[in-house]
């Protein structure tokens, strides 16, 4: 078992900078998820840990050792690929045993380990089949088996579920979570799917593609709830959560105690007033999650809610709730209603917004004005 530490790690391919100045501590026994849109360097970061790519700058630690120049086979890590990458000419048993055979483990011991791994993953019946005779989910399980059979100190998962259908994905997600909980192996899991990240990760690292002016890819690291409730910047706020957070341009009034936008006036909570004071008469971006806008009858508990009116443009019935897209002046606002009444397209509706739950972002730095614990 071992933790992993990125110390000012950079990766460039020629002139193209993929990762810069990455500082990140992955704790022992933790399941860390790297999430971000394509091109954010999450897979590259994973391949740096695996040793499949060379580090351009900085240091990478596994346990207490710098592994920059350690060969992949000596890093004691196992990796599961998106495409499964099974050996097509070998049976399931041979696939799982391959890593042990390379390490010259005696045959009886190999068989014992393979049988154990197959038992954990429910592959016992399939051990003599070739990969082409397996379904997608079974192949994924074999790929998992190949990783766990070696009892490595680190598991690496590179979008392992993106080739599976929706139902199987949810099932395998739960299995991976259970497996990690049981084996307590430090795990790094890469995905572009924020739902997968939220449901699996002990902690999540949100990465963004390197832009011209940015210093690092890492936007925020935290538990799923920290990212959801206290996004540090606009990028994380927009990336985490479905449907995504509503972002509206607002102006701070001259007293610094409310923000307004197109007839909408939102008084600021005590905490935000202090932060907004520096922005009097200046524009900000306001973020509100869809669940903080809804029907008045659903939210009698909200203290002094802000009301707003609009025309419904889209209605999405999920079951336990209804997601509506409402046109308020020139903005399209996403809100959630209770399932008791499904509104009609084009209907005029009056909604309330929880003014205490808003986030304010500086339009230039994109930083969240709210102070966070641990800042």
């Amino acid at each position: 078992m071992a933790g992993i530490r990125f110390d000012k790690v950079a990766k460039r391919f020629g002139d193209v900078s993929v990762l810069e100045d990455l500082d990140l501590d992955i704790r022992d026994e933790e399941l860390m998820v790297f999430v971000g849109p394509s091109g954010c360097g999450k897979s590259t970061a994973l391949r740096l840990i695996a040793g499949l790519e060379e580090i351009t700058n900085g240091k990478l630690f596994i346990g207490d050792n710098v592994v920059n120049n350690v060969h992949p086979k000596d890093r004691d890590v196992a990796m599961v690929f998106q495409s499964y990458a099974l050996y097509p000419h070998m049976s399931v048993r041979e696939n799982i045993a391959f890593g042990l055979r390379i390490r010259k483990m005696p045959d009886e011991e190999i068989n014992r380990h393979v049988d154990d791994a197959a038992d954990i993953l429910g592959l016992t019946e399939l051990l003599d089949r070739k990969p082409k005779a397996l379904s997608g989910g079974q192949r994924q399980r074999v790929a998992l088996g190949r990783a766990i059979v070696r009892h490595p100190s680190v598991f690496l998962f590179d979008e392992p579920l993106s080739n599976l259908d929706a139902e199987l994905r949810v099932q395998m997600r739960a299995e991976i979570s259970k497996l990690q909980h049981r084996l307590k192996t430090t795990t790094v899991y890469v995905t572009h799917d924020q739902v997968e990240a939220m449901t699996l990760g002990h902690r999540i690292a949100v990465l963004a593609p390197m832009g011209a002016e940015k210093k690092t890819n890492l936007k925020q690291v935290g538990t799923p709830l920290e990212l959801y409730d206290s996004p540090r910047n606009l990028f994380v706020a927009k990336f985490i959560g479905t449907p995504p957070m509503n972002i509206l341009p607002v102006t701070v009034d001259s007293y610094g105690d409310s923000v307004h936008h197109a007839g909408l006036r939102v008084p600021l909570s005590e905490g935000l007033k202090g932060e907004a004071a520096a922005y009097r008469d200046r524009p900000l971006l306001m973020g509100v999650r869809p669940e903080h806008i809804g029907g008045r009858e659903d939210h009698r508990d909200w203290h002094d809610p802000v009301s707003l009116k609009g025309t419904i443009e889209i209605v999405e019935t999920v079951g336990h709730e209804v997601i509506i897209h409402v046109r308020c002046a020139e903005d399209l606002i996403v809100a959630k209603l209770g399932a008791h009444r499904i509104p009609a397209f084009g209907e005029e509706i009056e909604l309330v917004m929880n003014g205490d739950a808003i986030h304010l972002f500086d339009p230039d730095t994109e930083r969240n004005l709210r102070r966070h614990t641990g800042d």
Binding site: V77, M79, A85, G99, I102
Partner: protein, 295 residues
């Protein structure tokens, strides 16, 4: 039905088949002739004498591949009275060594071209391609100088094996590289993570997966060496070292015109290639179409 089908607008099958049969006969006729000459028991190339003033039937008789008698004499004589078996053995040794060496060199080179980035990678592949555009005989003089004068391997099997394997390399490398390119890189990365070295990956993962391409490459190398005549005739000086194709020429060259032996020998020579072809057939289709569509 004659003429175009009014409903589908297609040429009727009768005419289509007649057309195909005609061309099939034209292309198989020479082979048929050789087979019949082999079984005729005679040494003549023709089966019937054409009179000075031939009628239609005489002409027809002359082009019918049908001998006056059937006999296996030619085969028996070729195998017993002539050193044909020795020549076959020589050919077999040379072709087998060429196949082993050629496949090994082609596989390793193609793997490097497929997976590694190095200076001259593109230039190397291009020069392989360009080398295929020149007729082989163009190389005869330089190869002769290199093999006999520089390496001192004239009149030896090793010299021929070297030349054959090396001249087969361009085609084989292109063939193998195309196939290696279709093997996903993740499989290798996965093996690296499993702790496998390059050698292990190459011999235990890549080569087994590339079986169809290896089969094609092997067949090509074997056929190149087995059928080759000009180089063998140039290099080999002693009659006992001849390969089978050179030996064949012995029957009909200069003062000899033993067409019966020639025909029987040709058939014996083509037998191993035909058998090999049949054996490797299941790999050939997938091997030759490799790289087109990945299934």
């Amino acid at each position: 039905m004659i003429g175009a089908d009014k409903r589908t607008g297609q040429v009727s099958h009768f005419w289509l088949h007649l057309f195909l049969v005609f061309f099939t006969v034209i292309s198989t006729y020479p082979i048929l002739w050789v087979i019949v000459v082999g079984f005729s028991g005679q040494q003549a190339l023709a089966f019937a004498d054409v009179p000075a003033d031939p009628g239609f039937l005489d002409r027809l008789r002359a082009i019918m591949p049908w001998p006056q008698t059937w006999s296996l004499d030619n085969f028996r004589d070729v195998l017993t009275e002539q050193p044909f078996l020795t020549w076959m053995m020589n050919s077999a040794i040379i072709a087998a060594l060429t196949t082993v060496l050629g496949v090994f060199l082609a596989c390793t080179a193609a793997y490097a071209f497929s997976r590694f980035q190095f200076p001259g990678r593109k230039a190397g592949m291009m020069s392989f391609l360009v080398s295929q555009m020149f007729p082989g005989t163009l190389l005869l003089v330089p190869i002769y100088i290199i093999i006999t004068q520089w390496l001192g391997l004239g009149n030896s099997f090793i010299g021929l094996v070297l030349v054959y394997s090396v001249t087969a390399i361009p085609f084989c490398v292109w063939m193998m590289k195309g196939y290696f390119d279709t093997i996903p890189i993740e499989i290798e990365e996965s093996a690296i993570m499993d702790g496998a070295s390059r050698q292990v990956i190459f011999f235990r993962i890549i080569l087994p997966l590339a079986k169809p391409a290896v089969a094609v490459t092997a067949l090509f190398s074997f056929m190149t060496a087995w059928n080759e005549f000009i180089l063998a005739a140039t290099f080999l000086e002693e009659e006992m070292k001849y390969t089978a194709p050179v030996g064949l020429k012995f029957f009909v060259g200069g003062f000899a015109s033993q067409w019966g032996y020639f025909a029987a020998g040709s058939m014996i020579i083509s037998l191993p290639v035909v058998l090999l072809f049949l054996y490797l057939q299941k790999y050939l289709v997938s091997g030759l179409t490799a790289g087109g569509v990945k299934g």
